[in-house]
Structure formats: C-alpha cells, structure tokens
C-alpha cells in the first residue's frame, strides 16, 4: 500500500497509478454534493445547461456539513453513504468526474463506470466529521443555496486524508463478510 499526495484537478495518470488500499492526501478544490444537489445537477445536464463547476478532473465529496460556527470555515464535515448517488455517478464519470469521496459500497454500474472512465472512489472515515473538517481550509456555497446543508460548496482542502476503496482497475478494499464463520451459511 502506497501513499500519494495529489492535487485537483486530477488527471488520468494521477488516477491510473492508484490501487485499492492506497492512502491519498488530496489538496485543492473539491465540490460537495449529495442527494438533492445531484438531482439538480442531472436536471441541469438534461436541460443542456452548464454545471456550477467544471466536471473535468473534478472530485466530488458526498457531504452535508453542519453549520460553520464563528471563526471556522466549516462545521463538522464527514462523508455520507455513497450508494444513494449511484444512480447519478456513472453519467458524471462519463463527463470527466475523476473522483468521488464518501463511505460505503458502490454498485456494479458505478464501479464499471470508474473502470471505463479512469476514475476512483475514495473513502473518508465516516463519523469523523470534526477531524476531517480540520483539512478543509475554506468553503463557499456556489450553487443551490436553498438546499441548506445540501448546497453545492467549493471546498479548499489541504492534505485531506483518503483511502482508495475502488480503483480504476476493478480493485476493491472492503472486506467480504465471512458468513460461514458467522454460522449463517
């Protein structure tokens, strides 16, 4: 397992070298979007309109942060469960999205889209929102302000700690449940 320091926008070369289990410290701009924002992004694409950020080389963080208290750029900001965005992810990958950040399993279509379009799925530690917010140095809402915690934010991150869960070669890090050992098979 290797360690990498990467910057956004991400290139195909950045992604191709990554293997499931690698640790990545990501810096640059990442974009927050979760359920409601994804629906709106797809509506914009369907209407042939421009998205609030450039998908080429982008990293999207599945997060709905808590409100920023005075003196901090953002509140607590850990990942949300990713499978809920699986119905949108393949289309975004086909348009240049290079990385998603979340927690939990992805479906077959999303994993295939990552292989087809040289993209990666990073895991961040769920429930460590206070700790992860320490790597977010700036944050501003760039679209869908009415969605509150679900608005699209441009976040500036510095050495954001990530783990490669799905690489673009079909590799996956999650443990396969041992049903036999647990006595249910």
């Amino acid at each position: 397992m290797a360690e990498f320091k990467l910057n956004t926008p991400l290139t195909d070369e950045d992604i191709a070298q990554l293997k499931a289990g690698d640790v990545v410290f990501l810096s640059g701009h990442i974009y927050s979007a979760r359920d409601a924002a994804h629906k709106k992004l797809i509506d914009l694409l369907d209407a042939g309109k421009e998205l609030p950020f450039d998908l080429k080389g982008a990293a999207v963080y599945y997060v709905g942060p808590s409100p920023a208290p005075p003196g901090r750029p953002i509140g607590s900001a850990g990942p949300t469960t990713s499978y809920r965005m699986d119905s949108y992810a393949p289309r975004l990958h086909s348009l240049g999205l290079k990385a998603t950040i979340g927690k939990g399993k992805r479906n077959d279509e999303t994993r295939k889209a990552m292989e087809d379009h040289t993209a990666v799925y990073f895991g961040a530690t769920g429930g460590a929102g206070a700790l992860l917010s320490n790597s977010i140095v700036d944050s501003k809402v760039i679209a869908f302000d009415d969605l509150g915690p679900e608005a699209v934010r441009e976040m500036t991150v510095k050495d954001f700690p990530l783990l490669v869960i799905n690489d673009c070669h079909g590799g996956e890090l999650y443990a396969v449940p041992d049903r036999k050992a647990a006595g249910i098979e």
């Binding site: 499978y83 915690p149 449940p177 647990a182 249910i184």
Partner: protein, 278 residues
C-alpha cells in the same frame, strides 16, 4: 403532584442535544479503547484511532462529532405524580429547535416528497411512557440517517424461532457492510406487533453499552449474536477486523400466537445519547 414548567424542559432538552453531539459518551469511548486493544488489523486500529482523535477534537472545538446530527429521538417517562404546566411535546420540540440552533448542529429533517428541509431540526420523534413516581425522565438520541437506512423489520413465522432470528440479524449486518459506519450497535426488538417491535428495537439503543441484560437468557442471546456478527470480519468502516459491532441490545415482549415480529435497528459508532431526570 409535582409541577414541572416547560421552560425547564426546553433548557434541559437543548443542553442534552448539544452535549450528546459534541461529547462522546464515556461508555462508547470505553468500547473504542477496548476494541483498539483487541484489534490486530492495522486499518481497524487506524479507524479507531481517528475516532478517538475525532472525539477529543469535538470536545475541544465544540464541533459536532458527526455532521449528521440525526433526527432527534426521545424516550420520555412521565411519573404518575407529575403535572406538566404547558405542552410536553411542544416543549421537547422547542428544546430541540434551541439545541440544534445554539449548538450549530445540522438540521436534517425534511418533507419526504419535496425533500425541503424543515429548517429547525424538528419534528422530533417522541415516544411517551408512564412510570410510578414524581419525576420526568428524558432520554435523547441523535439518530443518523446512514445507519437508520440499514435497519429492517420483518414478520417471521413462529417455526423459524431463534435460529431464524439469528440468521436474519447476522445477515442484515452482513448486507449493510460498511454503509452504517461500523463498528455499530445493534438494537433488536422481538415480539409485540409490527410497529412495537421497531419501537422496542430503538429503545434497546438507549441502554448503556456496558450494561448486561437483567434476564440471563436474553443476555446470553445478546452475547451469542455479538460473537457471530464479529466473526463476519467486516470491521471498523468495513475495512476488515474483529470489531464489527460494539454491542447487541435486545428487547423481548409477548407477541400474537401467529407471529414472530423482529426489528433490527442499526446504530452507528457515533452513539450520541444523553439522559436527564427532572
């Protein structure tokens, strides 16, 4: 008759919401430390290390432990000799509003169809019960969506018995995999009716993680499930390891002759709970 005025309830509820979301309860911390000592997997240890660091940081900065500050769930026990001056339900909702606003907690309640956020963290989910005495006891739990989504209820056939229950529960945890932020706490409700099984499954989660069920037979079943689930090897955040659950808590009540209701309420490691007695 003792009279309790609603401003006292509002302040107590608001304080509980803030404290639970920013200070990892001592029973949960102890379980993390215990797991850390037992785990042999490096990735498991690293996740647990991050969770402990996260708890220290939340305590210091007053940032919420997790950005998902949950739906506010309350179990309330009203003493028979207590009179509430004002409306208890409204007081709890008002306390929730205040706590979620003052504590910079995320408001996560929305309309199921339009998905528009209610904006203030309410309505809270409130379960009322009555007990002897002149006290008002309120339990609060911040229930995150990621783990709640992995919960299920089912109506087994009586013939399926304990083996059927065990298979269903362990399978549920296996299928949930990394999604609910393991290591989890599994609340199980067996018996009652369809909705009652789900309610007592949730109520099981207000127990302290280090307690033992007073009925030795049920305590043994909890232990049996905990061991079986941990053999799945899902581990912290699904990266592998021997800590898939921190604890299994079970509530058992009589049911209909024809039924065996079973509910599995999955709670994440961010087990934010508080209680107060007024």
């Amino acid at each position: 008759m003792r009279t309790i005025k609603t401003p006292e309830i509002i302040d107590a509820v608001a304080a509980m919401c803030i404290k639970a979301n920013t200070e990892l309860p001592d029973d949960v911390r102890a379980k993390f430390e215990e797991a850390m000592a037992k785990e042999t997997s490096e990735s498991a240890k690293e996740v647990l290390r991050q969770l402990l660091e996260n708890a220290d940081l939340a305590m210091e900065t007053k940032l919420p432990l997790c950005q998902d500050c949950g739906l506010a769930v309350f179990f309330v026990e009203v003493g028979d000799d207590v009179r509430i001056e004002g409306n208890l339900r409204e007081a709890i909702n008002e306390g929730t509003r205040k706590g979620y606003a003052d504590g910079f907690l995320r408001k996560s309640a929305c309309d199921p169809f339009t998905r528009v956020n209610t904006g203030d963290g309410t309505p809270a989910i409130i379960h009322l019960d009555f007990t002897p005495g002149d006290k008002l006891k309120i339990f609060y739990m911040a229930k995150g969506g990621g783990s709640e989504n992995m919960s299920r209820a089912t109506m087994l056939a009586p013939a399926q018995g304990w083996e059927g229950i065990k298979e269903y529960v362990v399978n549920r945890v296996a299928e949930a995999g990394p999604n609910p932020c393991p290591p989890t706490i599994i609340g199980i409700g067996i018996g009652g009716t369809f909705e009652h099984a789900a309610k007592i499954a949730k109520k099981s989660l207000i127990r302290r993680l280090d307690d033992t069920h007073p009925d030795p037979e049920i305590a043994a079943k909890e232990q049996e499930l905990e061991e079986a689930i941990n053999k799945l090897g899902i581990g912290p955040m699904g990266l592998g390891g021997s800590t898939t659950v921190l604890s299994v808590k079970m509530s058992v009540e009589p049911c209909h002759l024809a039924s065996l209701p079973l509910a599995v309420n999955v709670q994440c490691h961010s087990q934010r709970h508080e209680e107060v007695e007024l």
